[in-house]
């Protein structure tokens, strides 16, 4: 499973890092003169005094007791505070170590102090002269940083034989000293660097890097407000950064008060727990519950109670142990509830994070004990490292979320493209089908048209000729006429299959081309009086054939019955209609006669099929057939045959 593979990879990386750190630590063990015993003297004071430049035996306490280094007093937990903040109860703790043999400062030039604790000041004396003093705030004074003090090397300087350390701090809390090392740079330098790295620099570097990614996350959140995870990730990175400050700040005097610094760094622990909780319920899609209320409430109460705005507010140094205890309880609550939620949601990532949050609470016990001098003060605070891992867990989750979103976009793009292709194919297929149907429809129409036409024209003419031959009334001229008519019919049918492209005159020209030989042979003069007419967009095969047949009939009548010497075809436009007229100067005919009536009915039927109007006027002066074609026809009108 992908998750376990990933977890194994993370754990392997973690193992390698820890192993590397341990190896580094072992390689960089300090060497040289190791001072593990000293004499201790304590003086009660009020307020803080500057240390003397030179130690004078008379001014020093009298009762010294031998102690082993590291040495630490168990702090007294007290929520009471000295009424006078300007002059609190303090004490000076003196450590005096006499070297087993004097060393030359030119030879062994460094004093290395892995850890010192003083919620106050530090001064280091060499051979009774002040060599080093702290220049920091009283409480947040960088005591987490190891000290490496270079001895002043002056001409004719005497060998060093005694080192005295003066700590002045609040009475009852603080004040502790690790063992001391004296050696040359090679002996104590790497040890100092490694310890400094682990105690201060690493926390600083990782929390800064984390904060940078948090800012990126914040920028993402600005654009995607509904994705709370990005905001929480930023808040977590900010809280972690603030929390990390107390690991590495303090060598120099801070630009703000001890009280605010303490408030920030102590409260940030609680903030981290609260944000972890929100982060987890977001990841696990769990609704806020009473746990959220408890976490929020505790965070708020602690924050307000320790706010250094009022003189009555408690000093964070004093309240820190209580704050940490509260954080421990809340962290347990968050951890356990999140583990349950993750288990229910079957989210392995969520489970790991929840377990880690819970673990943080318990690993924090080490730090609490170290802080309160309950274990060797030469140990390390673990939480900074735990926080680094926690940061990576958060980072992993947000990254997974981010990559998931990108994947989703890519997938949806692919899906969209696939859908589009499918749609296109479907559209193409339906288009193809439609075209097929259209084609079939067209063929059907064409077949219908030709069948009807043959039935009315060619078919009946041929049958007439056949009957005539059968009855033996073989009038050669008449038969010839019939057959000629059949051929003309056929020619017009073929012409009607050619596209005329809206050109009515072309259609008429074609008709003339077909009928001219017969007119000529009968001696009828044809006057071609056509005028240009607008394009007729509805002119298709069916319309064309109907027009041809109506006019053909008119010509046939002129040739057969009119006894005319002239015929005239003219075109024009009258009130939205194209007018085609065929007239002759023949004898005319009775339009009511049955024979003429049948031909007229046929013409009228064809005319109405194309929504044209037909009039035939006949008299002794001749006959005029007029066909009125609308220039525009509504497409939906359709055509009946």
């Amino acid at each position: 499973m992908a998750f376990y593979k990933l977890l194994a990879r993370y754990l392997a990386a973690l193992g390698i890092i820890i192993a590397g750190a341990v190896v580094l630590h072992l390689v960089a063990q300090p060497r040289g003169l190791h001072i593990t015993s000293a004499e201790l003297a304590v003086e009660s004071t009020v307020g803080y005094q500057s240390p003397p430049a030179t130690l004078i035996r008379r001014a020093m306490p009298d009762d010294w007791t031998a102690v082993a280094l590291p040495n630490a007093a168990i702090p007294q937990l007290a929520l009471s505070q000295h009424a006078d903040a300007e002059a609190p109860d303090t004490q000076v703790t003196w450590y005096r170590a006499v070297l087993p043999q004097p060393v030359s400062p030119a030879d062994k030039g460094y004093l290395y102090i892995p850890r010192w604790k003083s919620d106050g000041t530090l001064a280091v004396y060499v051979n009774g002269e002040l060599q080093y003093q702290s220049h920091a705030n009283l409480q947040w004074n960088g005591s987490n940083r190891p000290l490496r003090i270079g001895f002043d090397v002056t001409e004719g300087a005497p060998p060093i034989n005694a080192i005295v350390i003066r700590l002045q701090h609040l009475r009852g809390i603080g004040g502790a000293l690790s063992s001391l090392w004296v050696g040359d740079f090679d002996q104590v330098g790497p040890a100092y660097m490694v310890r400094n790295l682990f105690q201060a620099e690493l926390s600083y570097l990782t929390s800064a890097a984390f904060l940078a990614s948090g800012v990126f996350s914040l920028l993402v959140w600005f654009r995607r407000r509904q994705e709370r995870l990005y905001l929480l990730f930023f808040l977590m990175s900010a809280a972690t950064f603030i929390r990390g400050l107390h690991n590495h700040l303090g060598l120099e005097r801070l630009p703000f008060s001890d009280a605010w610094f303490g408030w920030l760094t102590v409260n940030s622990t609680m903030w981290m727990v609260a944000i972890s909780h929100l982060f987890l319920i977001t990841v696990l899609h769990v609704r806020a519950s009473w746990i959220t209320a408890v976490v929020g409430g505790a965070t708020l109460v602690l924050g307000l109670a320790t706010l250094p705005l009022f003189s009555a507010a408690l000093d964070p140094t004093l309240t820190a142990p209580f704050a940490y205890a509260a954080a421990f309880v809340v962290c347990n609550l968050v951890g356990i509830s999140s583990i349950r939620a993750a288990w229910r949601a079957q989210s392995m990532e969520g489970l790991v994070l929840a377990v880690w949050v819970l673990l943080t609470a318990y690993l924090g016990i080490n730090d609490l004990m170290l802080q309160n001098n309950l274990i060797s003060i030469e140990g390390y605070f673990i939480l900074p490292f735990v926080q680094i891992a926690l940061v990576f867990a958060f980072f992993h989750l947000v990254l997974a979320h981010y990559l998931g979103a990108i994947d989703a976009v890519e997938n949806s793009n692919t899906l969209l493209a696939e859908r589009l292709t499918a749609r296109e194919a479907a559209l193409l297929a339906s288009h193809e089908r439609l075209r097929e149907i259209e084609q079939r429809e067209l063929l059907l129409q064409e077949r219908q048209r030709l069948t009807e036409d043959m039935h009315d024209g060619l078919g009946s003419s041929l049958i007439g000729a056949l009957r005539m031959v059968e009855r033996g009334r073989l009038d050669e001229t008449e038969l010839k006429q019939i057959l000629q008519g059949c051929i003309d019919d056929l020619k017009l049918t073929i012409d009607s299959m050619e596209p005329v492209e809206t050109d009515l005159l072309l259609l008429l020209g074609t008709l003339r081309f077909r009928l001219e030989p017969r007119l000529e042979s009968t001696g009828i003069k044809l006057n071609w009086n056509v005028r240009d007419v607008p394009p007729v967009f509805w002119l298709d095969h069916r319309y064309a054939l109907h027009i041809l047949r109506v006019l053909q009939e008119a010509f046939t009548n002129i040739i057969k019955h009119a006894d005319a010497t002239e015929a005239t075809v003219s075109t024009g436009v009258v009130a939205g209609d194209i007018v085609i007229s065929v007239s002759d100067n023949g004898k005319g005919f009775d339009t009511a006669a049955p024979r003429a009536g049948r031909g007229l009915a046929n013409q009228a039927r064809r005319a109405s099929a194309i929504r044209a109007r037909l009039t035939v006027e006949s008299g002794s002066e001749g006959t005029t057939l007029t066909l009125l074609l609308p220039i525009r026809q509504l497409a939906e009108d359709g055509v009946a045959g």
Binding site: Q484, I487, L490, K491, I494, D495, E498, D503, L505, L506, L508, G509, T510, L511, R512, F513, E516, P517, S521, W528, V530, D532, V569
Partner: protein, 214 residues
Amino acid sequence: MATGSKPLKVTIVEDDASFRGSFVAAVEAAEDMLLHAAAENVAQAMALLGGPPSDILVVDLGLPDGSGIEVIRAAHSAWPDCGIMVSTTFADDRHVIPSIEAGAAGYLLKDSSQSRMADDIRTLHSGGSPISPRIARKILLRFRPVEAPAQPLLSPREQQALELITKGFSYDEIAELMGVTRNTVMTFVRRIYQKLEVSSKAEAIFEARSHGLL
């Protein structure tokens, strides 16, 4: 139209015995014409082309051993002075235009009367070519400048004549409308047919070039 000089030598290539018969009869009935030869298929027609030229050659397209188009093309180069006509039932542009492209100068309608056939032959010999409105229309489309940019174009007069033909006007009417003689109109059509032939050849060359054959 009989000139009184040497009679027109007319040759027919036609597989349908009935039409061949009536055509031969029409030729024999005309004093000024002489049947030069008659062939039934492409092979016989090709054999004839090796011999002395005829004045008029009438070719049917649907021959049993091949297309009359081959015969027209071969005759056009073998007998360059011979007037070639395609015989057709309908004078439809699908048959007539390829024939003109192959070198024919006109067509003969198969259902024409004998005298009409003789007239059409004489007209062709004297330089006039028949044309139908639909063929005119096809040629106009063919010579649209966009269709044939690198080919001989129709002159404005030729163009005008063709347009009038599509509207059904006769040669006489066109001559009157354009203020020229009937003969001039007929030679317009003959020239247009020649341009069509040249343009089809140019097109073939262009095609061959673009396909890398030349």
